[in-house]
Amino acid sequence: MGPGQVERPVTAAIVEDLEVVVEGVRSWVAADPGRRVRVTAVVDTIEALLEGDGRTADVVVLDLDLGRDMVTDRVPELSDLGLRVVVFSVHVKPLVVQAVMDAGACAFLDKRTGKDHFVDTIAAVAKDEPYVTPSMAGGLLQGARLSEREREALVYLFQGMSHESIARRMKKPGGEAISPATVKQYIGRARAKFAAMGRPCASNFALLARCIEDGLIRPDQVDDYRSTPR
């Protein structure tokens, strides 16, 4: 969103075949005081998403279990179409998280703890910000080449801490706690490294551009990360 533009709610399409989950998502969205997200489409197949209004939504929220099928292998296809995909699943094993993030998903939300992060994640992903949920932290810890501080911040995030709690526990050399903004920087940089080493796709490019714009990484570092085969 550029300067001077009126900030509109982020539009989200939900790909989910369980009505009860959709109701839950709607209630989380409705409970957000800033009304930052608007659900514009709810479909139960990827084909219905691509053929309907959901195709133009800012963010696609994708459940990995649709009917009897796991749709993990469709994530690259969606991200190649330029869609910002947020995976919303109970399959939170770090290897699964790492795989869908590698495939181009912008974020991963654990269905069991989604309530705490859902709206924040959708809003951040719509702006191509490097937002990292606790379950994503597990995947990032497995995949990216991290500095000691980035790893420490991700471990605390994976354990379930807020940025404020992480900041309280991470000390500067003088023993003083670091700020939550610095924690956000460490985590954002780790996310950018992961994107730089992942599949070259629209979502990763947009995230990297945003990270470079925000000064999290330098353009020359992108090539450095990508030169390491995964």
Binding site: V92, T113, L141, F158, G160, R168
Partner: protein
């Protein structure tokens, strides 16, 4: 039994090596000068080379583990026997016994021994007999069929035949002795292993009894005697810890790939049974092999926090080759603090609002200086 076959093979290879050394050393030191001393030097050298080829073929096949079937004897034995005649034909008349300068007659038996190394004893004996009969034919053809000629033939034939046969039999006996020794050793090793396993099981059982004694018996005794109030939060905490430890005790000898996660699951299960929602995350990274005492030290803080948890807890494990970090965040009151019971595990507790965080970090022990 693989160690038994290894020992047997080693004995076999040793004897074979000795036989090969004899064949080639003798062929170089005795047969080559004898061939070059023949009147037709070129023919003598050709005979020597033909013998060399037969010896090399036999050695190559046997050293590669072959020679069990009839192919090698069929290929090598007839030329070996023919070579005795060919050598006799090339030798000039002599005052000595006709077989004395016939180097092929003596050396051929050694190559036959190699070629028949994996065949039966009677084939070696048969070779010796046929070789001696050919020698007899040569003696008859040379018109030396007198007592002295036949006597020398018997002495020569006996020497030529008996030494390779003796080596063959000796080798088989050696291999059998080796096999017997190895079998005995393997049986002793099996017995020792079984004894050690039995001792380990007995020690583990004794330790489990001791732990049950420490954890549960005292508690049950106090409950039975009415010395403690079951409605007291501290008593409930003690009971919950005891239940979780018992569940951990039940699974800690299970043969599973990730024992630490298996034990954490048992601890989480104990909490879930009283309605706590436990989010036990799959581990990040590979967990290195840990001692039981180290796993205890890692899971003990989790047990204490889960026992104090009101409604929900998140348990995570992050590890690499150098460290394992197990943590829990829960809505729990701070439990009574206890020092870590293992030197390689550091434990931290921290309360923030109504959330309790506990972390147990195992680090690989630094090598002694």
């Amino acid at each position: 039994m693989s160690s038994v076959s290894t020992v047997r093979d080693r004995f076999d290879q040793g004897a074979l090596g000795a036989a090969l050394l004899i064949v080639f050393a003798w062929h170089l030191a005795n047969d080559l000068p004898a061939s070059l001393a023949m009147p037709n030097r070129t023919a003598g050298l050709a005979l020597w080379l033909a013998f060399t080829v037969l010896a090399l073929i036999s050695s190559w096949v046997i050293l590669r583990g072959g020679g069990q079937g009839p192919a090698l004897p069929v290929l090598v034995i007839p030329p070996l026997l023919a070579g005795v005649v060919a050598t006799a034909l090339l030798l000039p008349p002599t005052d000595q016994h006709v077989l004395q300068p016939n180097w092929w007659f003596a050396s051929g038996s050694w190559v036959a021994l190699i070629a028949l190394w994996r065949r039966s004893l009677w084939e070696i004996v048969l070779y010796g007999v046929v070789n001696t009969l050919i020698g007899l034919g040569i003696v008859i053809a040379d018109d030396h069929v007198d007592a002295a000629g036949l006597g020398q033939l018997l002495v020569l034939g006996h020497g030529v035949c008996i030494i390779p046969v003796a080596l063959f039999v000796g080798c088989r006996m050696l291999v059998d002795v080796g096999r017997g020794t190895a079998s005995t050793q393997a049986a002793q090793a099996r017995t020792a292993t079984l004894r050690l396993a039995a001792e380990a099981v007995a020690t583990a059982r004794a330790r489990r009894y001791e732990m049950v004694q420490e954890t549960v018996s005292a508690l049950l005794g106090e409950i039975a005697s009415g010395r403690i109030d079951l409605h007291e939060p501290a008593t409930q905490q003690r009971i919950r810890v005891a239940v979780a430890r018992l569940r951990r005790l039940m699974v800690e000898t299970d043969d599973v790939p990730e024992a630490l996660i298996h034990e954490l699951r048992a601890c989480a299960d104990a909490a879930e049974r009283r309605g706590v929602e436990v989010d036990l995350q799959a581990p990040v990274g590979s967990i290195p092999a840990l001692l039981l005492a180290e796993r205890h030290a890692l899971t003990e803080p989790i047990i204490r926090v889960l026992a104090a948890t009101e409604t929900h807890a998140r348990v995570t494990t992050v590890s690499n080759a150098e460290e394992v970090v197990v943590a829990v965040i829960a809505d729990a009151a701070m439990p009574p603090l206890m020092p870590s019971d293992h030197g390689t595990v550091r434990v931290n507790y921290d309360m923030e609002g109504d959330l309790l965080w506990a972390q147990a970090r195992w680090s690989v022990p630094s090598p002694p200086r």
